[in-house]
Symmetry: C2
Subunit: 560 residues, 2 copies
């Protein structure tokens, strides 16, 4: 039996685009004699469709797309993901479903049982869990078809009380197929292989696993679809971060007619769960994820050009380099906006960066505008001493200049704030926190340095001076980040324990960090929730990013 995995990049709600690429893959697979072609979870509408699911009109459009697709399921069977109406008047009105299309009709509909409702996932908001389980018979094969999270209910503390594969095993299936929309984070690629292998080992069945690829605003889908034979050999892995169509021949004995690409012994035997910041990062993967996300955000929003404030610091340098890779240097406009407190090297370093990258840049000093603000505010400020207010005026003047050029010419402003700054509130709302997409918002400062080194791996794209000088906002004379923040070497490690590992103050202090410092850092994180609440979407590369996956009360008074 010849099985195709179609790993594609969907656009949420863009039914025409999604249906067309699904049909193209079906036709391609038919030409190559495919028996079954497998697409990813909710591929018809794109994942996650969120509250679009609450519109009957949206569900009707999903159904129309299924109608168009099933007309092509003649010599081949097609597995696609789409919502399915719950016709019983009890429970939520929809199921998250896999449609098995054959003979130009809907042969079977399978419902998802385990509905992820944590981090960025909200599936129980929309869907009723399955409560019936049936295998699908096709060309003599007994297929156990599941959807994403359905195969993740393993381990000694399973999240769900029902395990759908256990239910399906009662009907003696001989192959597992799983359709997924499983997001990337820097632990998840390995986790995913380990989880799929654990299913194969547990049920002693081959597994075909099809994941989506492409970014949907903040969420990155990396693809990397997989095929395992029944002996838990990894027989195929589709590329990460790109679309792909690949076939496998499943033989009668449960082996797969494909090279075994990786000995089982090299596979991680359990989920990766890094305990410290240092062991967390696969920098090449993170780089690819961010580049794809920038590209997808622009193309899905209908834009092609980015504008970025270029300060001569590490964050803007890395952001500009990433944007040039994603969009092409000609489409990335850097704007240098020195203030009276900027150092000379800031301007020269920023210029050097854009000269190396060959991207256009402007220099617009903010001195005159800043002084116009101070003038107008003079009767109100009344010679009070310089404070954070004056710092923020400079930052917001830059935000205004960048947005003005963006509005005039049709750029999207890319934001350069890193995760350490966002965590501690070390940034100005409507100033350096402005922008449409947070490129580095899920990378701690130390990780931004790692990215810079990676970008410079073959030649010096980011001037070394930018990497080696001490970080500064340059909003008052001789300012350094270390005036306001603990050293990033310590800060980032505490933040990682609090944010990624969700450890409380007692546990973090027990790791040896200074008690007063831990309290101070946790308080900074919690009192600045109101700022992050107004921040743009952040490309998610960790298991716990700020944004939709981390929901914290603003008026809360906890550790603050």
């Amino acid at each position: 039996m010849k099985i195709f995995l179609a790993q594609q990049n969907y656009h949420i709600g863009n039914f025409e685009h999604n249906t067309q690429q699904i049909i193209e893959a079906i036709e391609a697979a038919k030409k190559q004699g495919g028996d079954i072609i497998v697409f990813s979870e909710l591929c018809v509408c794109g994942y996650p469709p969120r509250d679009f699911l609450e519109f009957d009109d949206f569900i009707e459009k999903c159904n129309s797309a299924i109608d168009s697709i099933k007309a092509h399921a003649d010599t081949i069977a097609v597995i696609v993901g789409a919502p399915d109406k719950n016709i019983i008047k009890q429970g939520k009105d929809l199921f998250n479903a896999a449609y098995f299309l054959a003979d130009k009709s809907i042969k079977s509909i399978v419902h998802k049982t385990c509905l992820p409702t944590y981090d960025v996932f909200d599936e129980y908001r929309y869907f009723e869990p399955a409560y019936e389980w049936n295998i699908i018979e096709f060309k003599g094969k007994r297929i156990a078809l599941t959807i994403c999270e359905d195969i993740w209910n393993l381990g000694d503390n399973p999240l769900y009380r029902i395990c759908p594969m256990d239910q399906l095993m009662e009907q003696q299936p001989d192959v597992m197929i799983n359709i997924s929309a499983s997001p990337f984070d820097y632990t998840h690629d390995e986790d995913r292989k380990a989880t799929i292998k654990a299913n194969v080992v547990k049920y002693k069945l081959p597994m075909f696993y099809c994941n989506a690829v492409g970014s949907q605003t903040e969420i990155v889908f990396d693809g990397a679809s997989l095929a395992f034979d029944k002996y838990a050999n990894l027989c195929g892995q589709l590329p990460a971060f790109e679309s792909s169509l690949q076939s496998f021949v499943l033989k009668e004995d449960g082996t797969i007619d494909a090279p075994i690409i990786e000995p089982a012994s090299r596979m991680p035997d359990k989920e990766l769960n890094p305990e410290t910041l240092e062991e967390s990062l696969n920098i090449a993967q993170v780089h690819e994820a961010i580049v794809m996300s920038i590209k997808d955000y622009f193309s899905k929003m209908g834009f092609s050009k980015a504008i970025i404030g270029s300060s001569g610091g590490i964050d803007s340098a890395v952001t500009i380099a990433l944007a040039c890779t994603a969009l092409g240097a000609a489409n990335v406009r850097a704007v240098l906006m020195p203030s009276p407190y900027s150092t000379n090297h800031s301007v020269s370093d920023a210029e050097q960066l854009s000269k190396t990258l060959a991207n256009p840049y402007d220099i617009l000093p903010i001195k005159n505008i800043y002084e116009a603000f101070l003038n107008e505010l003079n009767p109100v400020f009344n010679n009070l001493p310089f404070s954070i207010a004056e710092e923020n005026i400079q930052s917001r003047t830059r935000g205004n200049l960048l947005m003005a050029i963006a509005n005039k010419f049709g750029y999207i402003l890319l934001n350069t704030s890193n995760k350490s700054e966002l965590a501690t509130g070390y940034g100005t709302l409507y100033g350096d926190m402005a922008g449409g997409l947070g490129v580095l918002g899920d990378c701690y400062k130390l990780q931004v340095y790692e990215l810079a080194k990676y970008i410079n791996r073959t030649n010096e794209i980011i001037p070394v001076n930018i990497i080696t000088k001490p970080p500064s906002a340059e909003l008052r004379p001789n300012q350094k980040d270390s005036d306001s923040l603990p050293d990033y070497e310590v800060l980032d490690k505490i933040l990682f324990q609090y944010i990624e590992k969700r450890r409380g103050p007692k546990d973090i202090k027990a790791q040896g960090f200074d008690g007063a410092l831990v309290d101070r850092v946790l308080k900074m994180v919690n009192v600045n929730e109101y700022k992050r609440n107004q921040f743009c979407p952040i490309i998610r590369i960790s298991p716990k990013a700020f944004g939709v996956g981390r929901r914290v009360p603003i008026v809360g008074k906890y550790l603050s």
Copy 2:
């Protein structure tokens, strides 16, 4: 049996504050010979605690609070809401629980079955639903204790497959107690009475219903706790929008020793579900909700003073009036920032407003700053024609001035954008969209006018000219809202159908609205999701507000 309902205003994560007011009410009820005192859902930590629940440290603090409280449950039984750890290694790690405390110990713990996971609610993100149901026996009474949503699973399309009251009826209870954190919206006060009455009618048992009061960022809890006797007579209702402690004597025959305050025949028999914008608004309630929310936001954030941009238009006038009621006029600073395109009446109307309200105000013209921006941008803009870019520079200059004063003196900037503007994207990010709290963000423009009339119900607080003149952003010569937007009379009705009623284009057009206009409006809503995503929390007064309760993909391509 003397039962107290304690309707209190909690602060999320502020265990000291919450525990103290709980204990004070217990002691007060003990002095008056109470048998049971009932608090609201998750009162120990405040509702909604959101991702704080993912910290073991937070759960430990809840448990410590329960320990402190139970020491006071000696001559009285105490019902409080708090999370409870799921000790079975299957399913989520927590339950949403009601603790029954008596004899200084935990006598019973009841778990919530129906976990709301829609709109602003995310309970299945944290909690496992109950799968065992038991009544509590106390002083000869058989109590069916449930939590909020547990009694909402009625009607012909119930949201949950299990109805906990049906389960409890097998054990012959003789009284129902429900602890809630049930938010206000302009339909919900009536809905709630109807739902509770429907339970009383169905199960033929008296019901004591205790709701929380006070606002938690965007979510408004209105209190209005209720007592029904077994004959479905409403025997008591605690006040809306304020804390209250009130007792009822439940007699052996299921009647309540209290005046019947409203004949059952006057109660709505089913949920209020307004089909059109016109029938939706109870303006006095909305006014109270917004005033309480402003007050609570400031006190819970530890602030006392607001700053507001005062344009001479209706939105800022209503916002300033509401803020003066909430915080006192002396604590509300209005800033008039005329641009070269502002009309004279804008300034004089805004001045008149602040003179009437007696709140401080400043006049800071933006002309010089605006010109400094244009000067600096001249080499980039290169004499291109005036566009939205120049409009936004003015708006963002105002945002910068307001934030500068806020930063200098410790104000919170209140935002004045209305729901019609937010829906259509008719506002400037980082400009008039700046602020810490969206006061009118859930009120359509027509509803803002209703609020203005209500504020002027006894005397002219808002100058009539502000109410009667055509709305304008005044960012270019002779600009009117109607240049860019359909008339609010039509626009707001289409928006209501799309946002509150979640009707698709076909259904809205079938109501008689112009087809091209409907398409245009829905597209405006959908393409501007990226702007709303960066907007501050909005005081929620409708069943569907922008913000945490409405989750729409940014890169989506649906009706856009």
